[in-house]
C-alpha cells in the first residue's frame, strides 16, 4: 500500500497507532497539520487527480463517535448504531457512492479507536436490548487493515465485551463492509469469529 504523503494531525502525532503507521510507511513524506479539514475539506479539489496518488490523513475524531442508525435500518439482533473511523476507500469501484462523495480522494483514518470503543460502551449501557454497530459505510474498513489495524483492535474489544450466551439478548454485534480482504487476515478473523465476538464481514 503506497501513499503519496501522510498528513498527521498534531494532536495525535504521538498516538501509538500513528507511530505504528508511520513506521510501516517509512519513506513516505510526513506532513504535520492542525486539523484534517484543512487538507480534506478544501473547496475546489479534484477527486480524479487525487485518486491517482492518494495521501493518508491520520486524524482525531472529535465529538460524538457513535451515532444511531436511521430508523428501520438494522438487524433483528437489536438497535443499530454506526461509527466512521475512516473516510474514503482505497478501491475505485465504478458503482460506489464513495467516488466523489467527499471533496477529496485522500483517505482519512481516525486513530483514536479508544474513543470509538468508549462510545460503543456508552451506547450499550444505555440500551437494555441487544445492539448492532455498523462500521465502514464511509470506507472499506477491512481493505485497509494492514494499515488501520481495525480488526486487530476491535475484534478483541468485542470479544471481551460480548456476553456469548445465545439466549442473552444483551449482545453487541458489529458489521463491516468490504470489497477486499486478504486471505490470511480473513482466516485470522474467522478464528476470532468462532471465538464468538459477534463480528461479521459483509462482502461488497
Amino acid at each position: 500500500m503506497k501513499f503519496s504523503a501522510v498528513y498527521i494531525e498534531r494532536a495525535i502525532a504521538e498516538h501509538e497507532l500513528t507511530q505504528r503507521i508511520i513506521a510501516r510507511v517509512s519513506g513516505t513524506p510526513v506532513i504535520v497539520i492542525d486539523r484534517y479539514g484543512e487538507v480534506f475539506n478544501r473547496a475546489g479539489q479534484n477527486f480524479r487527480i487525487q485518486k491517482r496518488a492518494p495521501a493518508l490523513i491520520l486524524a482525531k475524531k472529535h465529538g460524538k463517535t457513535v451515532l444511531p442508525a436511521p430508523e428501520g435500518y438494522g438487524f433483528e439482533q437489536g438497535r443499530g448504531f454506526y461509527f466512521s473511523h475512516m473516510l474514503n476507500c482505497l478501491y475505485d469501484c465504478r458503482y460506489c457512492f464513495l467516488q466523489g462523495m467527499y471533496r477529496s480522494a485522500h483517505y482519512v483514518l481516525f486513530v483514536n479507536y479508544e474513543d470509538f470503543m468508549a462510545g460503543i460502551d456508552a451506547e450499550t449501557l444505555k440500551h437494555d436490548e441487544g445492539t448492532v454497530f455498523y462500521s465502514g459505510y464511509d470506507c472499506d474498513s477491512l481493505a485497509m487493515e494492514p494499515i488501520s489495524a481495525f480488526c486487530e483492535r476491535f475484534i478483541p474489544f468485542f470479544c471481551q465485551q460480548t456476553c456469548i450466551d445465545p439466549g442473552d439478548s444483551n449482545q453487541k454485534h458489529t458489521s463491516s463492509t468490504t470489497a477486499g480482504f486478504s486471505a490470511d487476515r480473513q482466516l485470522r478473523c474467522r478464528h476470532e469469529l468462532h471465538s464468538g465476538s459477534g463480528i461479521e464481514a459483509v462482502g461488497a
Binding site: 506532513i31 479534484n46 480524479r48
Partner: protein
C-alpha cells in the same frame, strides 16, 4: 502520452530575471506583446517574472490579470508552478525540493499543495520577508511561495498549483555566494526534473480538460453537418456515452461508414448502443 492541446496552459512563476533566463531557453519562451515580464511559447507554457517578495508577486499577478492580453486571451491556465531558489539548512546547493507545505512566517498560515509531483526531496517552504541567514527550521526559505499560492488559487485548479525550489544556499554556502551564474548553473542542472514536472502538470491539466470538454468525434460531426440545437444535444450525449463506455474506436468506425443526415446519424448511434445493451433512453 496524450497529444496535449495548446489550449492547455501552464504558467511558471519566478521572482528573478536570472531564474527566468534558463526557463526561457528550455521552453523557447518569447515576450508577450506589450508586456515586459510575461513570456509565452507556442507549446502552451507561460512564464511570469514577478520580482522579489510577496508584495511584488501580488502586484505582478494583479497587473497581468488586468492586462489587455489576459482579458482577450481564450487560454486558461489550470496549472501553475512556482520555481525558484531557496535556502535550506540540510539540503545541498542544486538539490530540488518539491513543496508539500507552504507556510508564511508573518501570518503563520499554511497551505498544502496536493502531492502530485514526485522528486527526491519533499518538504515545507517557509516564505519570509527578509533573507534568512540562520535556517532555524528544516524548511526551504523563500520570499514568494505563500503569496504565489494565494494568488494562483484565484486562477488555477487547486490540485495543479505546485511549488518547487532549487536550493541556492545553506549553512555551508551562504546567500552572499548567490550569483546569476550560480542560478543559471543550478537551473540547467535541474532541467530534466523541471521538464518532467511541467509535462506531468500539463498532462493532468489536459486530462481534466478532456473530461469536461466536448468529445472530439462530436466536434468533427458538428464541423461536417448542420445540427439544430436539439440534434446537437442528442449527438453530443450519444458521443459522450461511447466515450464513457470506452467504445471510441467503434464510434469512429460508425462515423467513417457515412450517414445521410443528423437524424440518420442519431438513429445509427442509438441502435449501436442499444445492440450492445448499454443504452438508456433519454
Amino acid at each position: 502520452m496524450p497529444i496535449i492541446s495548446e489550449s492547455v496552459l501552464l504558467t511558471l512563476v519566478v521572482a528573478l530575471p536570472a531564474e527566468a533566463g534558463p526557463l526561457k531557453d528550455f521552453f523557447q519562451l518569447k515576450p508577450l506583446r506589450a508586456t515586459t515580464n510575461v513570456f509565452q511559447s507556442d507549446q502552451g507554457i507561460r512564464l511570469l517574472v514577478t520580482g522579489v517578495g510577496r508584495k511584488n508577486l501580488t502586484q505582478s499577478f494583479a497587473r497581468f490579470a488586468g492586462s489587455e492580453f489576459a482579458k482577450e486571451s481564450q487560454q486558461v491556465s489550470p496549472a501553475w508552478l512556482n520555481m525558484g531558489i531557496a535556502g535550506h539548512r540540510e539540503l545541498a546547493v542544486g538539490e530540488m525540493m518539491v513543496a508539500n507545505k507552504i507556510s508564511c512566517a508573518v501570518s503563520a498560515q499554511s497551505s498544502f499543495p496536493t502531492p502530485v509531483l514526485s522528486g527526491n526531496h519533499y518538504g515545507e517552504v517557509l516564505t519570509v520577508d527578509e533573507p534568512e541567514l540562520t535556517y532555524p527550521q528544516n524548511a526551504a526559505y523563500d520570499m514568494e511561495a505563500h503569496a504565489f499560492w494565494d494568488m494562483a488559487l484565484n486562477y488555477g485548479m487547486l490540485d495543479l498549483i505546485q511549488c518547487c525550489k532549487l536550493i541556492s544556499d545553506n549553512p555551508h554556502d551562504g546567500v552572499e555566494k548567490i550569483t546569476a551564474a550560480l542560478i543559471d548553473e543550478i537551473f540547467y542542472a535541474a532541467s530534466d526534473e523541471i521538464r518532467q514536472h511541467v509535462d506531468l502538470l500539463r498532462n493532468l491539466a489536459y486530462e481534466q480538460q478532456q473530461l469536461i470538454s466536448d468529445p472530439v468525434p462530436y466536434l468533427e460531426i458538428a464541423d461536417r453537418i448542420h445540427l439544430n440545437v436539439n440534434q446537437a444535444l442528442q449527438v453530443r450525449r450519444l458521443c459522450q456515452r461511447f466515450v464513457a463506455l470506452n467504445r471510441e474506436s467503434e464510434l469512429e468506425a460508425l462515423l467513417a461508414t457515412g450517414y445521410r443526415s443528423a437524424r440518420d446519424l442519431t438513429q445509427i448511434l442509438r441502435e449501436s448502443l442499444k445492440s450492445a445493451g448499454k443504452v438508456t433512453e433519454e
